[in-house]
């Protein structure tokens, strides 16, 4: 049974002093997660938000449609000159993200601290 995707936003500051917007996702990410994934991201003001962290640590499952949504988000971010890092992925989905070329658009990290330090 697929669980609903939840997303909420948080503002942090990186160790280098940059403002960072964190999008924390929960549940499963699938075709029904369009509003939670793309909608939440598209609500961010592109003029001011330049660094985005994606938190997948509470995501249980991402199917092919969910991965397509993440890629769409990353392509939009790339077109808006935003830097995007992701963390909290299981080894399985880290491998899947690498296969589908997500690493060309977003750095993948194990923890939030590592991702923040890289910004």
């Amino acid at each position: 049974m697929q669980s609903e995707t939840k997303a909420h936003m948080e503002q942090l500051t990186s160790p280098a002093g940059h403002p960072v917007t964190v999008l924390r996702f929960e549940g499963d990410i699938a075709s029904t997660s369009k509003d939670a994934v793309l909608g939440t991201y598209q609500a961010l003001p592109k003029a001011t938000v330049k660094s985005v962290l994606l938190d997948f640590s509470k995501v249980d499952y991402i199917n092919s449609s969910g991965i397509a949504l993440v890629i769409q988000m990353l392509i939009e971010a790339s077109n808006s000159d935003q830097k995007v890092y992701a963390f909290g992925l299981s080894p399985h989905f880290t491998k899947v993200f690498t296969m589908v070329g997500i690493t060309k658009y977003a750095g993948l990290f194990a923890t939030q601290a590592e991702a923040l330090a890289a910004l």
């Binding site: 075709s31 199917n63 449609s65 993200f97 070329g101």
Partner: protein, 701 residues
């Protein structure tokens, strides 16, 4: 000196002036012969106390000496009070409950709109033999609650007078025993009734206020007999309420169960929900009429503030969903906003909490309540007009029932205007609301049957479409096991649903002995994914005819998917030359396994994401007996009941162990299939000797 009514009441004579009597026949000489006379003792009599009663509105002051209610005391001078007669007109019945012996209450006798306390007093002379017991049968039709006192002593009450605002209950028969010492021998008894009526009652019923039939005084056994017959009359009057509760509950359950036949149609949920509310309303009415489990105020709050507004909005939603309307999008919100307004205006307009708002404000809210009901009716009518415009026959069929149902929402106002809204065939109450409810129920059953029939028909057609799509997909996929010069190929395809989103094609070159394999996975599952598969398979084969080079094929497929909304697919294309040389191009698909080891290659975006993506490419050579296995993510992402993944490591281990394509697919499926599964295994074998007969693949282009 007050004018007193003296009723000579004799338990022995029982003659002439009594309204109701029971007789007991006692033969004085058992077995007596001809000429003997039989003496008859007439006893256990009772009399209706029609009056004249003394009456006043307001409440009694407390006697400073006795600290009791002054107006209950036998010596109180009530000569200045009004005189009331409770004798009913021939055949008069209560317009709401149908109870016999009805007389209009105080609002029809000079106290229009009055609610609150009022008193009735009567003086009765009785002559009781020692040992005989007297009782008073309280009036069985009252508004709303009362206390009964005899010679200043409280005998009992109907309703709860322990709070500052008495609790009321639906009218019902009551019995009060008279203290024997007060009435033995010739005695004078002053009966005083202290009444309380809610403001709601004055607004909901015509001629409300106080006693609507006369109390009974007499022998305790006789009064008990009358009590029972009054209960029979009351039970008969409200006999339909539990029947309607049962009918509504049955329809609610039926509607909910229809959801299992057609989950896509939300109308069944709305119908089930509204009829559950209707059943609850009938159950509340049954409880308030026949028991004291619910007080009148609680019944009013549950019905008028909660159930009625929700039901109104629910009906609007039923027809909105029924006619599949989408515009204006604000209409459902408007329906529930009107329901909220109706709840608020009912609460304040019916003056359920009369201590909160003054009378004029309450009257204004009653007008708002009517406006809210009219607006809801107008909203539903508008939905119907749209429904008739788009659906025709269904709308016309339900319209009369709907109009009657809407009309019945104003039954209190109609009742106040003395319009007949209740009929009493065989003493059973049957109102305009019940008639509308029954008519609507019949129409809805008819319409539901019709809708379900067409829904099942549509589902069968759709199932046939899916079945045909499945057959087409089986045709366009290669056979499970084929041999080509230099190659042994086995494949396995197990869609998660009837139609899958995985695809693969094996296209041998007609002349140079090379082989093109295209394998992919469309995002999503089911018929939509299956249709994209058909598109991609056609595109792949067309591209291969032009140029079987993997990068060219992927580029062609990417162009086919671009701009088609959320149509994306991972895809891998590889060509294997006759000498074993492999060119592999990948668009986000799982890399193949060479002899059980995953081929290390760079990741790349799936098809359909960007106009000119960088597909990853690599070259290597297959030696004789090398085995190249292409798998979809349905293998690694098979998930067991505990949510564990089949995973890449397990896939690798099984492939190293030399598992066939079918066995690997079966292992993942047993583990817990979550997505489409496809496995293609290509083994390089020794080329066929020149002159030997080559197998002709049936699926070749």
């Amino acid at each position: 000196m007050a004018r007193r009514f003296l009723l000579l009441f004799s338990l022995l004579s029982g003659l002439g002036c009594f309204g109701w009597a029971q007789a007991r026949v006692v033969p004085n000489k058992p077995g007596g012969g001809p000429g003997d006379t039989t003496s008859v003792t007439i006893g256990q009599s009772s009399a209706r106390l029609y009056g004249p009663w003394k009456f006043t509105v307001g409440d009694s002051p407390i006697d400073p000496v006795t600290h009791e209610q002054l107006w209950a005391e036998p010596g109180f001078d009530d000569s200045g009070w009004e005189t009331v007669d409770l004798t009913s007109a021939e055949g008069a019945i209560d317009p709401t409950a149908g109870l016999s012996g009805y007389v209009p209450g105080w609002t029809a006798k000079g106290h229009r709109g009055y609610w609150g306390y009022a008193w009735y007093r009567i003086r009765v002379r009785v002559n009781v033999k020692p040992g005989e017991k007297l009782a008073v049968g309280g009036p069985s039709d009252v508004d709303d609650a009362y206390q009964l006192m005899a010679n200043g002593v409280l005998l009992g009450s109907f309703g709860d007078f322990s709070r500052s605002r008495p609790s009321i209950y639906n009218t019902r028969p009551m019995i009060f025993q008279l203290p024997q010492q007060d009435v033995e021998g010739p005695a004078s008894v002053v009966l005083a009734f202290r009444f309380w009526m809610e403001p709601t009652t004055a607004m909901q019923q015509p001629d409300a206020g106080g006693m609507h039939n006369a109390p009974l005084l007499g022998d305790a056994g006789t009064v008990a007999g009358d009590f029972q017959s009054q209960w029979v009359e009351l039970s008969r009057a409200y006999a339909t309420t539990p029947i309607f509760a049962f009918l509504y509950l049955l329809l609610a359950l039926t509607a909910f169960s229809l959801v299992f036949f057609d989950r896509s149609d939300r109308v069944y949920l709305w119908i089930g929900g509204v009829y559950l509310l209707a059943a609850t309303s009938s159950i509340v009415l049954t409880l308030t009429v026949w028991t004291q489990a619910l007080s009148g105020e609680a019944g009013n709050v549950i019905t008028d503030i909660l159930l009625t507004p929700l039901t109104s909005a629910g009906w609007a939603m039923i027809w909105w969903v029924w006619f599949r309307l989408r515009r204006p999008a604000w209409l459902p919100t408007a329906a529930f906003a009107l329901a909220a307004l109706l709840a608020l205006s009912n609460a304040l307009g019916e003056n359920l909490w009369f201590t909160l708002v003054p009378g004029p404000v309450s009257a204004a809210f009653h007008v708002i309540s009517m406006a809210a009901r009219l607006a809801t009716l107008a909203l539903v009518l508008w939905i119907f007009i749209e429904g008739i415009r788009t659906q025709g026959v269904e709308g016309w069929l339900a319209l009369p029932a709907l109009l009657l149902h809407g009309f019945s929402r104003f039954q209190n106002e109609l009742s106040i205007l003395h319009l007949q809204i209740y009929w009493f065939p065989f003493g059973v109450q049957f109102g305009i609301g019940q008639l509308a409810g029954l008519l609507l129920l019949l129409v809805l059953v008819l319409l539901l049957g019709r809708r379900l029939y067409f829904s099942v028909l549509k589902q069968r057609r759709m199932a046939l479409d899916v079945k045909q799509a499945q057959e087409v997909q089986q045709v366009i996929l290669p056979r499970a096991r084929v041999s080509l010069p230099g190659f042994e190929i086995e494949s396995e395809y197990r869609p998660a649903q009837e139609v899958g989103g995985d695809f693969f094609q094996i296209v041998p070159h007609p002349s140079n002995g090379s082989l093109l394999i295209v394998a992919g996975d469309v995002a999503g599952k089911g018929l939509k994914a299956g249709m994209l598969v058909a598109l991609l398979v056609g595109a792949a084969r067309t591209a291969a005819e032009t140029d079987p080079e993997p990068m060219f094929v992927l580029g062609a497929l990417n162009r086919r998917l671009l701009g088609r909304g959320d149509a994306q697919a991972t895809c891998l294309a590889l060509s294997i030359a006759a000498d074993g040389g492999v060119t592999l191009a990948n668009a986000g698909h799982m890399p193949p396994y060479l002899n059980g080891q995953p081929v290390a290659m760079e990741g790349a975006l799936p098809l359909g994401m960007l106009p000119g993506p960088d597909f990853s490419v690599m070259h290597f050579k297959l030696a004789e007996s090398d085995r190249l296995v292409l798998v979809s993510d349905g293998i690694a992402e098979a998930t067991d009941a505990e949510g564990r993944l089949f995973g890449f490591e397990r896939t690798e281990q099984l492939l190293k162990a030399g598992l066939s394509a079918a066995d690997l697919a079966a292992a993942a499926q047993r583990f817990g299939q979550a997505d489409d599964i496809s496995v293609i295994a290509v083994t390089k074998i020794a080329a066929t000797l020149p002159g030997a007969r080559e197998p002709v693949p049936e699926w070749s282009i």
